[in-house]
Structures are given as C-alpha cells and as structure tokens.
C-alpha cells in the first residue's frame, strides 16, 4: 500500500461522521478520525500510536471489547452491532454498537472499528418507554372510564374502569367503532353530537352531560370530557358516571325539605304547648313550671326518634323514658309488661305525649305521689294489628277536687292518640289512682306487628 492510498483512506475516515478507529494487529491505535476525537473528548496525539488498552488511563480496557477483539474477531473477519456498555471517566456512560472488520494491509493485520454511539438513542427510547408506561398506568389508575379513539372514532384502547363499569371485554371493544360497542348501546344522539359536531370545532369539551338507558345497567347520567390529541390523531374520551352522585344530591334535597318540615312542626308544637299551658296558668311562674317539663317531653320524643336509625322506636323504650323522667323506677313504682313492638315516628310522638301527661299526673296527684303507690303498665296487639295499652295506678288517694281538675294534661291523654292515630282513649280517675286504656290501629308499614305477632304469639 502506498502513500496516496493512505491519504485516500485517511480522507475517507475524516469525512465519516461516525467515530472510527483503526488498530494494528497488536492493538495499537494507528488512526482515529475527527468524529472519534469529538465523541470521546480526546486529541489525535493522545490516541495515535498508543496501545488501545492504555488509552486515557486504561479506560478503553473494557472486558466486552477485549472479548470482541481477541475472541470474536479471530473466528470472524467482520462483526456488526456488537453491543458494548461502558462508563468512561471523562464522558460518562456510553452505549455503543461496534462494527469491526479485520483486514490485511501491507502484510499486517488491521482492525477497523466503527463505533455507533447510541447512548442518546437509548436514553430517548427509555424515556419514551417510561412515558408510555406512565401514560398506561395513569389511564388504568383513573376511576373514570377512559376511551382512546382514533379520528374515525374507533376505539384504540379503554381502561380497566371502562371495562368494569360497562361490563364489556377488550375483545368486544378495541378496534370497534364507538357506536357499535355493546350492541350499539353507545349509539347515543348526544354523544354523536359531541364527538362529530363539537369536537371538530373545538379541541376539547368538558362535562358534557349525557343521560342514557344501558342494557343491564339501567339509566345512567354521565359527564363526558374529551381532548383531541392532534399530534397523535387520537381522541381521549373520559366518562364519569354521576348517577349515584345525582341520586345522593336528590336524597339530600328531600332530606333537607323533610328536616325543614319537621323543624317547623316542632316549632308549631312548642307554640301550641306554650299557648295551652298559658291558658291553664294563673301567673308566669306557674306557666313556666308547667311549660318546662312539657318542652322536655317534646325533646325526649325527638331523642327517641333520632336515636333509632330506622326511626321506629320500641314501645317499652317510650314507657321507660317517660316514667324515668318523673322519677319512677321499674320494678318498684312501675311495672311494665308487653311484647316487643316498634312504633313509627308519628305513633311514637302521639304515644309519648299521652304517656308524659299520664306520668306527670301520677306524680302530681296519683300513684307516684304516695309512698307504696305503683303503676301497672301493660300492652299487647292482636292479629288485626290493633294495639291496646293499659295504665292502672294503685295506692293513690284521688279526691273530688282532682276529679274536677281536667286540664290540658287530660285533654292530651284523651285526644292526642285518637286524633293522630285513630282509635280510642278512656281516661278515668278511681279512688286509688288513674286508669287509662288506649287502643289504636297499628300502621302495617313499619310497626312490625305482623313480623312479631308470629314470633311472640301475643
């Protein structure tokens, strides 16, 4: 090989943008090109005529490279895309694909090593994969149903929430036109309008409300959010099912109305209690003494109603609360006997008022006023759902004066239950105390008498 040949090959080397190094058979660097020097931040002087493995403090002494040069190239004259990863002192980690070729020049071995530095390409590939993974995981983690659509509205993919919510499989979804999904049940006029009219004009729409009856799922109210991804020719469609939320709001609204109604009714009761008490009072002090306990009784009835989650209240509990409020003790000054029975709110309120007045009168003039006096309280219901309650005092001494004193309390005892629930109430004063028998029809709705009548046989 002559001098002009060398210049010729050196010129070729110089024009190639890929790093190239030419080694002798003993692995001494004969030549490197400009691209090599640029890529590995070295000068030609630092490189030429040096042993490969000594270069830059031995940083080219790479096990993989040794293997390539010493083993592989002995068997093959040419090797392509031999991958080498190495941490260089000066330029950091590099991923390289090596193309090596062994040849003979002037009777000596020469090795041409072309280095394809793919470090940046690898980094981008990793980043891209990372982004794709991020996007996929993100989409799958979202609880809204997500559809990725092509421009022609075919489903490219859907997330788990979509499959779960609308009970379809990827096989019957991917590649299909959105309108064909689930037997065409996504062929919704509002959806067509949104995807075909709104989306082409704007690049997105938000909270577009669609109401639709789905087979097997029933009527659903959905909010649709869409984004056009112009660079990818894709559309992302997010579907948020707000059916439950709407139902919750509706219930909340009804509940608030009910609450307001109840508050107004309670205020109305308070007004009435004040007014009735005033009519039977001769002075403010007397008014207040009588009004306070009545207000407390009203409050106790509310407590009972709010305590039970289903608002039905056990009758024995009403008896206990009202009797204990006037200081009576079960087994000593009162005896209660009857089956388990739950009363709905209206019944509870009516019965609690009557019981309160009975207990108050017993404390003022009757069996709870005298030592040794007691009250027998019993109740039962029959198969027709008629409830009867009996109150019988013993040991009191009722005088003629008491008998003539029929005020608001007696009025409540005799009328509150019949007025509110139907039925009758007989209130009698005997010599040794009061007797009261209240009978009214139970409401089948929630009184539970039908359930219990078979169990208790009472």
């Amino acid at each position: 090989m002559n001098g002009s040949d060398q210049t010729y090959s050196a010129n070729i080397l110089a024009t190639v943008s890929q790093p190239i190094m030419v080694l002798t058979g003993s692995l001494e660097v004969e030549n490197v090109n400009r691209a090599f020097c640029d890529t590995f931040a070295v000068s030609e002087d630092e490189t030429r005529c040096r042993m490969l493995y000594d270069l830059g403090n031995g940083q080219w002494d790479i096990p993989d490279l040794r293997r390539l040069l010493q083993d592989v190239l002995r068997e093959h004259n040419a090797v392509t895309d031999f991958r080498v990863e190495h941490e260089f002192e000066s330029i950091g980690k590099r991923v390289m694909l090596l193309n090596a070729r062994r040849m003979e020049r002037a009777g000596e071995d020469r090795i041409v090593l072309a280095i394809n530095d793919i470090t940046e390409r690898e980094r981008q590939r990793h980043e891209l994969e990372g982004r794709r993974e991020f996007a996929e995981k993100l989409i799958d983690s979202i609880r809204e149903g997500l559809l990725v659509l092509d421009w022609d509205l075919r489903v490219q993919s859907a997330n788990k929430s979509f499959y779960d919510k609308f009970q379809v499989s990827p096989e019957e979804t991917e590649g299909r036109l959105i309108y064909e999904l689930g037997n065409g049940q996504w062929d919704i006029p509002e959806l067509r309008e949104a995807l075909e009219k709104i989306l082409p004009q704007k690049w997105a729409f938000d909270d577009y409300e669609v109401e639709h009856e789905f087979e097997g799922l029933g009527r659903r109210i959905m909010y649709l959010n869409a984004r056009r991804l112009d660079h990818l020719d894709l559309i992302i469609l997010a579907i948020r099912d707000v059916t439950e939320q709407r139902e919750h709001e509706r219930r909340q609204h009804v509940f608030m109305r009910e609450l307001q109604h109840r508050v107004k009714n309670i205020l109305s009761n308070v007004r009435s209690l004040a007014n009735q008490t005033r009519r039977n009072s001769t002075d403010l002090g007397g008014f207040f003494t009588a009004f306070g306990p009545r207000l407390a009784a009203l409050s106790r009835a509310q407590d009972l109603l709010l305590k039970s989650p289903d608002e039905d209240v056990e009758f024995a509990e009403i008896v206990r609360v009202e009797l204990e409020a006037v200081g009576a003790e079960r087994g000593k000054t009162y005896f209660a006997d009857g089956p388990i029975l739950k009363l709905p709110p209206r019944d509870t309120q009516a019965v609690a008022m009557a019981l309160h007045e009975l207990a108050t009168n017993a404390g003022k003039y009757g069996a709870l006023k005298v030592k040794g006096g007691h009250i027998d309280i019993s109740w039962q219901f029959d198969r027709n759902g008629e409830f009867s309650f009996h109150w019988l005092e013993h040991g009191a001494s009722i005088t003629e004066t008491h008998n003539n004193r029929r005020g608001f309390g007696s009025d409540i005892i005799e009328h509150s239950v019949p007025h509110m629930l139907g039925g009758t109430s007989e209130y009698t004063l005997h010599r040794d105390g009061a007797e009261c028998r209240i009978v009214f029809p139970l409401q089948k709705r929630s009184a539970l008498w039908s359930d219990f009548s078979t169990n208790t046989g009472s």
Partner: protein, 124 residues
Amino acid sequence: MERFLDKHRLLILEDDYLAALDLQQLIEDFGGTVVGPVGRLEQAVDLSRSEELDGAILDVRLNGSTSYPLARELIDKGVPVIFLTGFAPGSMESEFNDVPLLSKPLEIRETERVLRKTVARPRS
C-alpha cells in the same frame, strides 16, 4: 280580641293534635265555631259533606297523603280554603297558587289577616 268570625263555621284538618288544638283555640278566640278538629282525611271529607262550612283550614301533608283532593272538592263547592304547612312557601302545587297559605308555627296577626281576607263575611 275582636270576634270577627262570629257565626262562622270552620273545618280544621290537621293531623298534629297540638297544632290542631292551637288553631282551634285561635279560631274560637276570634269568635268562630270549629268543625273538628280532625286529624285524618276521611274524617274531614265526611264532615265537609255533612256540615255547613264557611271555610276550611287544611294541613297540606297528612300522614302519607295530602289534603289536595279535599281542597279541590271544597273550592269547587265555593268553600274558601286556607292551607297550613310546615313546608317553605312556593312548594305548593301550582293549581293552588291562589289558595292562601298559613305557615307553621302560627303567628296570630298573620292568621287573623288571612282569615279576615279569606273567610270573614262583611257584617250585615
């Protein structure tokens, strides 16, 4: 209190006994005669058919139903109707827009004003 309801017979339908009693006494204080008070719709319907009435005060919501059917019947017969409700004004069926409304709890002057306007006949 002026007895401007003298010789007037008013039906009261209100299922809450305390509220009914309160209204009854107020009407009587104004000189009126109360038919009832009753707490259940059937009783009120029976009374409205058997008694001469100069007006009716009806609680709108009764246990599980409303007093609307009775209100219609009375309005058709020319008997003045006043609704009584714990619901907020404006929650009434639109066909009853012209029916005066008393809100719970009762307020004496407002009750008097509504009764004078709706029920009271000019004195002869």
